[in-house]
């Protein structure tokens, strides 16, 4: 499968480890993610205001790029695109849905973007995780050369991947897609009752304390259930859960650091694609000591 890939800004800056590992893991599964030759920021937050069309222009412009790629044959999928960041995924899928269901909005945005070809309203925004699920997790197990035996992972989902229901890729009440993936990689799954609690998102900028509290809850609950590491698919969740451990430690003296993996890093590790493809050095809490203790490195 050759599919247009939308990276988003974070994956080119703070979350290179998500991009590098996901591209390598996807390739191993026969998914060729072709970066869109031109793309712009998705807008980051989907505007819920009914008359605020301006903030959907950015997403729709990206969808036009996907449409072009489908038409010019640079990919072999039709009107499909893949994202890795949960936030980009949510914003663009929501915008795609809005213009698909509101003909008037689509006309208005198309007439505003008069230097672009008209958007046809048909692009399907996918997250890599759902593409993998739809392929079948047995395909994943078949590629595992280094099962993550003995590693206790507490999958974390947050908000953007699973909510709202019409946008999410899994049951918003009881998501399992991460657990199924890591099981296929040979890991042990620990269920965290806080797996779908918000990490605090952008409050991390102006309201750090809220984020410290939330992240502390999410991490310590995972630990209480026996989790040794947590997983995510979102650079913002990763920042709040991983980098903010610095502040958590200052506030909660008993808190013990815990590695936060991108789902894709666990895939490249289990597929035996080498440390360059895992980019563990970019994680804030270094996961390598834990992996060494499990004989996985």
């Amino acid at each position: 499968m050759k599919i247009p890939y939308y990276p988003g800004c974070s994956l080119k800056t703070s979350a290179k480890n998500l991009e590098v590992s996901a591209l390598a893991a996807a390739e191993k599964l026969g998914i060729e993610m072709v970066e869109m030759p031109r793309w712009n920021c998705c807008g980051t937050v989907f505007s819920l205001t009914s008359d605020d069309l301006m903030h959907h222009v950015a997403s729709v412009r990206n969808l036009v790029r996907v449409q072009e790629m489908s038409e010019n044959g640079s990919v072999d999928t039709t009107n499909k695109m893949v994202t890795l960041c949960s936030m980009c995924f949510n914003t663009m899928k929501s915008a795609a849905k809005r213009v698909r269901e509101n003909a008037e909005d689509l006309v208005k945005i198309n007439s505003f973007m008069d230097t672009e070809p008209d958007y046809n309203g048909n692009v399907q925004v996918l997250h890599l995780l759902e593409i993998i699920r739809d392929m079948g997790f047995d395909k994943v197990s078949a590629k595992v050369t280094r099962p993550l035996e003995g590693l206790k992972i507490a999958p974390y989902y947050g908000c953007m991947l699973i909510r709202p229901k019409e946008i999410g890729i899994d049951d918003p009440e009881d998501p399992t897609i991460g657990a199924q993936l890591f099981k296929a990689l040979g890991a042990e799954i620990v269920d965290n009752p806080f797996k779908k609690v918000c990490c605090g998102a952008y409050h991390t900028v102006h309201n750090k304390d809220t984020v410290i509290e939330l992240a502390h809850d999410i991490l310590t609950h995972a630990q209480e259930e026996g989790g040794e590491a947590i997983s995510t698919s979102c650079p913002l969740c990763a920042f709040n859960l991983d980098n903010r451990q610095k502040e958590i430690k200052e506030k909660y003296l008993k808190f013990k650091e815990m590695p936060v993996f991108y789902f894709s890093q666990l895939m490249t590790l289990a597929f035996g694609l080498g440390e360059d493809a895992c980019m563990f050095e970019a994680n804030y809490v270094d996961p390598r000591p834990l992996l060494k203790s499990k004989n996985l490195l």
């Binding site: 080119k12 800056t13 712009n40 920021c41 950015a58 505003f112 230097t115 672009e116």
Partner: protein, 251 residues
């Protein structure tokens, strides 16, 4: 004294409107334009700048090189019957019948202060100095406004993701006219972002070319000292002669 007068005359001549001294009886083709709401009939084929001078306006600002390089002569116009607001450089664009024109001599902008030697070559630097780039809604208005046909939106997007090389390449021909900035709904001053990115890329991103290093060594070793001394000692006549006979690239 005599020389000085010559120079002042040369400057005065250079700044004279090209239409000075033309007899309007000799002009066959005319167009109607509006300058800041007033109608004028001007000879066809003039640039906007020349047409305004023909109409009696004197450029005490908003003009510099008269050759499309300095970015001083930004113009906005609409054409009769069209809703599009268009942008151009007045010295580079010919008047057309039914143009409604105004000059934009200045674009108010905040330029960040920084010590380039102390700025980290990181994605966050551009955002730190110009946090408003995160407000870009990808409307593409800036690209449509740019008289240099630059992909302005794309270089702001490159800036957002810290891709200095791309910003530098895409904004290289920016003449700082400010038209993108006055049109941007997110109030971004694109040209300043581009300039910081080019400075950063020039200092930290580019490798020093070998030929430049070799040339500098030659200069340090005094390869041209003798020639320079000769030039400095030459009198005005000799310099004029040599200037006229200089080797130059074809125009």
């Amino acid at each position: 004294m005599e020389d000085k007068k010559d120079i002042m005359q040369i400057i005065a001549d250079a700044n004279k409107s090209v239409t000075t001294g033309i007899d309007s009886a000799d002009i066959e083709h005319w167009v109607w334009i509006h300058i800041m709401g007033r109608a004028y009939q001007v000879p066809a084929g003039l640039t906007i700048m020349q047409a305004m001078e023909y109409a009696g306006y004197k450029f005490i600002t908003s003009a510099g090189c008269r050759a499309g390089f300095c970015g001083a002569c930004a113009t906005m116009y609409r054409k009769e019957g069209e809703y599009k607001l268009q942008t151009a450089m007045a010295c580079q664009t010919r008047v057309e019948d039914g143009m409604f024109l105004v000059q934009i001599p200045f674009a108010p902008a905040q330029e960040a202060t920084y010590d380039i030697t102390k700025e980290p070559y990181a994605a966050s630097t551009l955002l730190e100095h110009y946090p408003e780039i995160a407000r870009c809604v990808a409307c593409n208005t800036c690209t449509k406004a740019c008289p240099q046909d630059l992909e302005v939106m794309d270089y702001i997007q490159d800036a957002l993701r810290g891709d200095y090389k791309k910003v530098a390449e895409r904004s290289f021909d920016c003449i700082q006219c400010g038209l993108c900035a006055v049109r941007c709904p997110a109030e971004i001053t694109q040209f300043n972002v581009g300039m910081l990115a080019r400075r950063m890329y020039g200092r930290y991103g580019m490798t020093e070319p070998e030929y430049a290093k070799a040339r500098l060594t030659e200069l340090d070793q005094g390869k041209y000292d003798k020639e320079f001394k000769k030039l400095l000692a030459a009198d005005v006549e000799e310099l004029k002669k040599r200037y006229a006979a200089r080797e130059r690239e074809a125009d």
